[in-house]
Symmetry: C2
Subunit: 497 residues, 2 copies
């Protein structure tokens, strides 16, 4: 299939991006590898003075037969031994990043051995529809998102975000003076028709939003996931109203089967081959993108470990060059130890081994999700104004509660759902469990309701929700926590058992 | 001695800093460690699913008898073995950061085991003059400086910088729309009287600069170092004209004895004790600071390895809190592997062992500097219009050249020193050596001469300079490079031998 090239979106860049001139110093870096030239140009310490050598680390070995949480024995049958020297042994070429290189300056886009792995991985999972796309290393999606704001937005610009969104992402925009327009959600995420309505009715003369920030899979905090059909609709609207879609996808590989209430009907999903697993994954925005309008942010935080501080962005070469230029002035590059260890581990696991890991991860989270939803059904009052929402991806469940059903709604709580929410939160804390009030993620509350002129806000409702996680604690502890939460609701709403 | 507390400098903060509201989510983090509470509040993966365990790495062992570049044998007599498990063994408490913690979210200020080491180290080296100072981890000084600009400056604000400065630092300010005012330098760095003149004559009504950005030790690119007396003068001027001093100190421990031209008179400096070494170091700006007006940025890049992507800031608690809040939205924290490895290594070396390393580093760089300056004297034309500047710190030497002495200065080069500079650069490249034209670091050129109204620019001169390094290449290769550079000058200036 002949593919096109990305559109030029540079007219959407911020003044900062437009004003960022590559320094002359960077223009000479190609001389660095010229064997006939003695390069006295840069302040690089010699690797002779790096104190570290013979780094080694163990991990389990694919196919992780006893589950990804099983401790490897140390034997070569189930243990992957990574050993990285300061200078490269010939046998390690293409696999390991020697410490002399990973601990040196350079490679702001990420070291080749690690970026090749994730580029190949990306191509296994996503269908790219244009030619000049690229990959760039990051220190995780938090930083990548903050950089995205710097690259596109001036103070006073506006962006679109899900009505309830991760507060840190929203605060980053807020601090930069960017106005947030909340987009209505239902249990399946952004409602395309509502998004279109918002934009079709945009006040004349007010600049349109430059970006849509979305967590399409296992959305934080609602736990919802966008279907491929909705994504296609949203992409069409993005083209119509000319904004960039930023898909923040830390939970992409925490997709699961739908929750099945009857345990006897549950089957642990197995895949006859990896293609079947890959096909089972919801298609991404970047797979639809024919013109470089989507920026995809992936991260190892939820898949391997947050402290790797490693992720990557996929997007058009032109746009990624702006990340690179910003990165050269900020983080320079992800840490060298991290890159050596990730490359050493994943290049030994191989692409198929990494898929084995991701399948194992899916099993673990499905188990935890099921246990959690079972416990919620068991411990929460079975009344029509309390709804448990079993997610199909991610780390979070939500419980919707119609605050107007509180016996003291119109009296003690003055018909204000937020006051009921606060009372439930306090009661849960007093009972020894912490779940987070949905209102804490409400874009409108986080931004004090500042929106562009004429902007149509999502409708108010008496339904409040709480976000909890099944990721962070072991099963029994989680069940005990949900028991306590259930008790708080029984008490607060004066429901008899 | 009774110490005061830091002054409140919040009136100097940027709109962004003033608009950064801590999210409610952060307010609940203290519940996380409450043993009676089940915390279902955060999307933290369980460390059971982190694949890595049994990380180990080797380094040489203090006192580094055979020099810091000597490869350790692997035996315990000269080799430091660091071994870090996922869960902490009791014997490692206070020394190692278990991977279960370093690879998890949290600790945006840096892990306690590593920050305690650098805090103690800082107190050994610097005299703090106020009580409420603090330390915060960074991913290195490049990022820390970029963050400093975000914390203090709005578009249109101005700052002071050395007349010639590291281009990346200048470009970061330029991109953010911050105006740079170059401060005149001589071979010893910023000239306090000139700085004062600039500020005393500041145009009425134009807001004064908020920051002074300086690399006091082994300045990049000039190689100059500020004496303690000049620092005291500059601090007085900072108080008078109310700006913050940002001391960017990657080269602080690359201080050396003065260059001695006669090799027979050179003695390898040895210290009878560590105090003698510490006393030999030039005192820092932060040691003068009585009111939290100085922000000090330290980095491991030149001392251990750039790829650690680790550094730290010292400043008042109030100001550091702003870095932390920004950091929580950007990098979150330095990498976990890096922190585990740094803590594991340095806590085994101990404070005294680390000083041994720094003394060893000084020896290596002194040797390289001496070899380099000797070679420059040997290979460069011995004429009065070419001056070699032997540095007393850092990685860089400079060679001053009076461009007006070029035989074709008024003809081919139209009396423009920059054109002579370009011709020398090209000739050197053609001869197989790269040294960097000083003009590439000139703040005025880098910023297209934008300065606040009425600002008095440093005087123009026909003297150009080139920056080279003795850090990046082995001795023989360096000598060959300088030989080639010398030949280019002989040719270009048509000097007979």
């Amino acid at each position: 299939m002949t593919q096109g090239v990305a559109k030029d979106f540079s007219y959407l860049y911020s003044d900062e991006t437009k004003g960022r001139t590559p320094s002359q110093l960077k223009t000479i870096i190609h001389y660095f590898s010229d064997p006939n030239l003695i390069f006295l140009g840069g302040g690089l310490p010699m690797s002779d003075y790096f104190p570290w050598d013979n780094l080694s680390v163990e991990s389990p070995l694919p196919p992780f037969k006893n589950g990804i949480g099983a401790k490897p024995s140390g034997e070569s049958s189930d243990t992957c031994h990574v050993s990285i020297t300061k200078d490269l042994k010939e046998s390690q070429a293409g696999i390991d990043i020697p410490l002399a290189r990973s601990l040196q300056y350079g490679h702001s886009k990420g070291q080749p051995e690690v970026m090749k792995f994730f580029k190949d991985h990306h191509e296994m999972i996503h269908d790219m529809q244009y030619e000049d796309w690229d990959i760039c290393a990051t220190v995780g999606n938090t930083g990548a998102w903050e950089s995205t704001l710097r690259i596109f937005c001036n103070r006073g610009d506006s962006i679109l975000a899900e009505e309830f969104a991760f507060s840190s992402s929203i605060s980053a925009a807020e601090a930069q003076g960017v106005t947030l327009c909340p987009v209505p959600l239902d249990e399946h995420g952004i409602i395309p028709s509502k998004l279109e309505e918002v934009l079709d009715n945009w006040a004349a003369g007010v600049p349109k939003p430059k970006l849509l920030y979305t967590v399409p899979t296992g959305q934080n905090p609602t736990g919802s996931s966008l279907s491929f059909d909705r994504k296609k609709e949203i992409y069409r609207i993005a083209q119509k109203h000319d904004f960039i879609i930023v898909e923040d996808e830390p939970y992409y590989f925490l997709q699961m089967e739908k929750y099945e209430k009857d345990p006897s009907k549950r089957v642990e999903k197995s895949y006859s081959n990896h293609k079947e697993f890959i096909d089972s994954l919801e298609k991404s925005f970047v797979s639809i993108d024919v013109e470089g309008r989507v920026i995809r942010m992936d991260s190892l935080s939820k898949v391997l470990a947050p402290g790797t501080r490693f992720g990557w962005i996929i997007g058009s070469k032109d746009i990624l060059l702006q990340y690179l230029r910003l990165q050269e002035m900020t983080i320079q590059a992800p840490g060298g130890f991290t890159q050596s260890i990730i490359a050493g581990t994943l290049n030994r696991w191989g692409q198929e081994g990494y898929i084995d890991w991701l399948i194992g991860l899916r099993h673990e989270y499905t188990k935890k999700r099921d246990y959690c939803i079972d416990a919620l059904h068991k411990y929460l009052p079975n009344v029509d104004f309390i709804t448990v929402n079993p997610p199909i991806a991610g780390m979070f469940f939500t419980v919707d509660i119609d605050a107007s059903k509180h016996p003291e709604f119109t009296t003690t709580y003055k018909s204000d759902p937020k006051l009921v929410e606060k009372a439930i939160f306090d009661k849960a804390i007093a009972s020894g469990v912490l779940v987070v009030p949905g209102n804490w993620f409400k874009v409108e509350s986080l931004t004090n309701g500042k929106q562009p002129e004429g902007f149509v806000k999502p409708a108010e409702s008496s339904v409040i929700f709480f976000r909890g996680t099944y990721a962070a604690v072991p099963l029994e502890k989680m069940a005990e926590g949900l028991h306590r939460f259930g008790d708080s609701l029984y008490e607060e709403f004066q429901i008899s058992r």
